[in-house]
């Protein structure tokens, strides 16, 4: 390689777009021009791309590539990947997940690089999912060879087990599209023919022609009934076998009765045919089901997005301070990792050194980058923006934030609330009634000698299908939950959303809820002769033993001397006493110190939380702890009040700081100095008074209180997720997320009511008309299908209630470079 000494200022790497360090000599010869590079990794990759005759990649791309890493050694897991392949005959299929794709030209580059390898049959990358399917001839090439070819041009690829759920959904979608298409094309033809028969006078069409048209319709309806309507048929068959008739039973019965009767009438050459009704019925029902499926698809693909967020590679700092590239899933607790700017953080970790901004939007929905410095938590899957960070891995595998979120979402979607089962049972009673009504209509009509008794009975059967009724709530729930998830709000119990709209009172906790929970010592008042630093050292040493949130404020302070503490005595939530160099020291709340000293002293008025330090005879110092009010708290509270909800503050803190905070955020009803037991009693009292109570807490110290409330919301932020226990989790630091939850829950309530109303009005209204013979079977089919389609589409609207912010987020993602 040539080495040109060229050092202009503000040069960016030709490959990845990072600044080239001054004095760096890396670069490649590109079409006769010297292009500088930021590191040997990029240089090697660019050289490989050019050597492979793929240089035009650099003209095609619309975004810089990901910074390449050296060394490009073979990873351990390449060897494992052989086992995961599955295949028939000579051609093996392997699913690959590819990392580093920044624009569509990358796909071009990858596909060319891989398909030219000998033994590769095909290599297709899905741009939307960043997944690829590799087909190779057995014994001609190993998957690991392909992986190293991909690595050579600067991408990371790994073979993976096709996620069962995702795979199943993909298959289901294809299935739906196929069945829908057949129903559309065949239904269109049948309608065309039928329209001709309707429009023409009966005398206009020769009997032979009429018979011909009917046979053609029958032929075209065959695939619709046998193929498109198969899901209804098999579901109905299963329901009957389980003796639990659901809404599919009347649907299947209607379709098959109408089709068989038409076929019989066509064969005998007399009586009505209902081919067009059958086609339309199937088509519209399928359409309604497909839209319902799409809501589910969106919900699941957003949690799918999460599992893809963690990168495959991590930079582990070895004992000799060397950096090794390792697969992210081999990281263990306590490993030291380095995260370069622009990289995704491979695991939950604690920052050891460095300061940077991190984008956590994928987890929390929050678009603003967050400052991180030594001691802060990093979330696996978030994006490091400016500077290099060193961190210690604090959580891996099942316990990591990402897996926890994914698990919670899966649970919420899988959970079948009690009322759904009640609705199912209700539906089966309803279905029984429908069939009974149909049968009696048919019999009465037949005895009375009506000529069209069959078509009336058919109309009754189709018109009264409770499809819309059974779709009314589940569709609304799915849409609402996935819409909230995009905003960093996780619903762990679906029912909570419905209850939320009926709530009268919102009770807030103070520390860590209305305030950020990131406390610092803001002021220190001294009473003795000792220096501030000496007392601070004592306080820090004592607070080391406490896990109260306030103790964190002391742990952040700088200390000069480490004091050896002995004989610790703790009183939970109040304070602690310990011996340092023979002297007894106590630290804690005002009332605790008063008890220790056994005498009164003049208390200091302050708006901040106070911590007292004393020996067993003298008061030494009072520390004031400052805690920032959470972003958006005041706005969220005034919004809640506007919605007519009562708002209270329930705090374990002293009266003055509690009142001060309440005034700042606009809460009038304040209960201060409440112990956990007092808080429980207060919630109990409110509930006995007939109020529905929402408790908003940090989800950790107040778990029993959260459990007691009708609905619990925790604002713990994503980092404490695993320990938080509540119905609704706000991952976002911004309190205004509360507003989204409440407004969406209200909207959802409205939509469910609309759906129910519509379904009932339709079913109840149409039944007498159908029994009286005013509804033709095709009209019944149209009415029934359209009514379920209306319900599904109405629910779908919930996705767009909060859509504005999402757009901004997407735009940010697409940004160049």
């Amino acid at each position: 390689m040539k080495s040109h000494a060229k050092s202009e200022k503000h040069q960016v790497c030709f490959h990845c777009g990072l600044d080239v360090p001054s004095g760096a000599r890396w670069g490649v010869d590109f079409n006769g021009q010297w292009k500088p590079m930021c590191c040997p990794g990029c240089e090697a990759v660019a050289q490989a791309i050019i050597d492979n005759g793929l240089a035009s990649f650099y003209q095609k791309r619309t975004a810089y590539s990901v910074t390449a890493k050296l060394p490009l050694e073979t990873l351990e897991q390449d060897k494992q990947s052989e086992i995961e392949t599955e295949g028939l005959g000579d051609v093996i299929d392997t699913s690959l997940m590819i990392e580093g794709i920044t624009c569509s030209a990358c796909i071009w580059l990858l596909e060319r690089q891989v398909t030219k390898l000998k033994g590769v049959v095909s290599f297709k990358i899905n741009y939307a999912t960043r997944r690829a399917v590799l087909k190779t001839v057995q014994h001609q090439i190993h998957v690991s060879d392909v992986l190293s070819a991909i690595r050579e041009i600067g991408y990371q690829a790994v073979s993976f087990d096709v996620n069962k759920q995702f795979y199943r959904l993909q298959k289901e979608r294809k299935d739906f599209l196929g069945r829908l298409g057949v129903a559309v094309f065949c239904g269109m033809q049948v309608m065309m023919i039928t329209l001709g028969i309707y429009v023409a006078d009966p005398s206009d069409i020769e009997p032979n022609m009429l018979q011909f048209l009917k046979w053609v319709s029958a032929l075209l309806t065959f695939p619709v009934v046998l193929f498109s309507a198969k899901p209804f048929m098999s579901a109905a068959f299963r329901d009957i076998k389980n003796k639990m008739p659901g809404m599919d039973v009347p649907v299947a019965l209607g379709i098959s009765l109408a089709f068989l009767a038409s076929l019989y009438n066509t064969f005998t050459g007399q009586g009505d045919t209902y081919y067009e009704s059958v086609c339309m019925f199937v088509l519209f029902l399928m359409l309604a089901r497909y839209v319902e499926f799409l809501t589910r698809w969106y919900a699941i693909s957003s949690s799918e997005r999460l599992t893809q967020a963690v990168p495959m590679m991590a930079q582990r700092v070895g004992e000799d301070n060397h950096i090794h590239s390792v697969a992210a899933n081999t990281l263990v607790l306590g490993d030291q990792i380095q995260i370069n700017p622009g990289e995704v953080i491979p695991a939950d970790s604690l920052v050891l050194s460095g300061e940077s901004q991190v984008d956590e939007s994928i987890l929390t929905g929050e678009n603003e980058p967050i400052d991180k410095k030594s001691g802060d938590r990093l979330l696996g899957g978030s994006h490091n923006l400016n500077n290099t960070l060193r961190a210690r891995v604090s959580c891996v595998g099942e316990d990591s934030t990402l897996s926890t979120i994914a698990r919670l979402i899966d649970r919420a979607h899988a959970e079948k609330p009690a009322w759904v089962e009640v609705a199912d049972r209700f539906a089966s009673v309803f279905v029984g009634m429908v069939i009974l009504v149909t049968a009696s209509t048919a019999m009465v009509g037949y005895w009375q000698g009506q000529t069209d008794w069959f078509s009336i009975a058919l109309s009754v059967l189709v018109v009264t299908c409770p499809c819309a009724l059974s779709l009314a709530t589940p569709t609304a729930y799915t849409a609402a939950m996935s819409s909230l998830f995009d905003r960093g709000i996780i619903i762990t119990k679906g029912v909570a959303l419905e209850q939320l709209s009926a709530v009268d009172r919102v009770v807030f906790d103070k520390t860590g809820t209305l305030t950020e929970g990131s406390m610092r010592v803001s002021k220190c008042t001294l009473f003795g002769q000792q220096s501030e630093q000496a007392l601070m050292d004592v306080a820090i040493s004592l607070e080391e033993f406490s896990d109260h949130p306030i103790a964190r404020a002391f742990k952040r302070e700088a200390r000069q001397m480490n004091c050896q503490v002995e004989n610790i005595e703790q009183e939970n939530g109040a304070g602690l006493t310990g011996q340092i160099e023979g002297e007894k020291y106590s630290i804690g709340s005002e009332s605790y110190i008063r008890r220790v000293l056994g005498k009164r002293f003049e208390s200091i008025e302050s708006a901040e939380t106070q911590v007292y330090l004393s020996t067993d005879v003298n008061l030494l110092a009072v520390f004031e702890i400052h805690d920032d009010i959470r972003v958006g708290a005041a706005k969220a509270i005034s919004w809640l009040k506007n919605q007519g909800k009562a708002v209270s503050l329930l705090s374990g803190d002293k009266q003055i700081p509690a009142r001060w905070l309440a005034k700042k955020v606009g809460i009038e009803d304040v209960k201060s100095e409440a112990s956990p037991r007092d808080k429980l009693a207060e919630i109990d009292r409110l509930q006995l008074a007939g109020e529905q109570v929402v408790m908003v807490g940090d989800g950790m110290n107040d778990a029993p209180i959260l459990a007691k409330a009708d609905v619990s919301i925790s604002v713990s932020g994503a980092s404490q997720l695993a320990r938080a226990s509540s119905d609704i989790l706000l991952l976002n630091n911004d309190m205004q997320a509360l507003q989204h939850v409440f407004s969406l829950s209200k909207k959802m309530g409205i939509i469910i009511k609309q759906n129910m109303m519509w379904a009932l009005v339709y079913n109840v209204g149409a039944l007498p008309l159908a029994m009286a013979g005013y509804v033709e079977p095709w009209q019944a089919a149209l009415g029934m299908s359209v009514s379920s389609l209306v319900v599904v589409l109405n629910s779908f609207r919930l996705r767009f209630v909060l859509s504005k912010a999402n757009k901004a987020k997407q735009q940010k993602r697409v940004e160049f470079g």
Partner: protein, 63 residues
């Protein structure tokens, strides 16, 4: 009117053809990625032009 006896079977035949093509396209994954092919068409031209020599050159090198 007699022409209908010919035209309707033709239309039925066409529908069968359309359905067959449609089902094939769904099953072969034409609808799986609605985004990528829209981009890849921009690179297609050049790919065909030098594909043959590329492939053989690439093969030699990688062996």
């Amino acid at each position: 009117m007699d022409s209908l006896y010919f035209l309707i079977p033709v239309s039925v035949f066409l529908v069968v053809l359309i359905v067959a093509i449609y089902l094939w396209s769904v099953r072969s994954g034409q609808f799986d990625d609605l985004e990528g092919p829209g981009h890849s068409i921009l690179y297609e031209e050049e790919k065909n032009a030098d594909n043959v020599e590329e492939k053989s050159a690439g093969l030699k090198k990688d062996q």
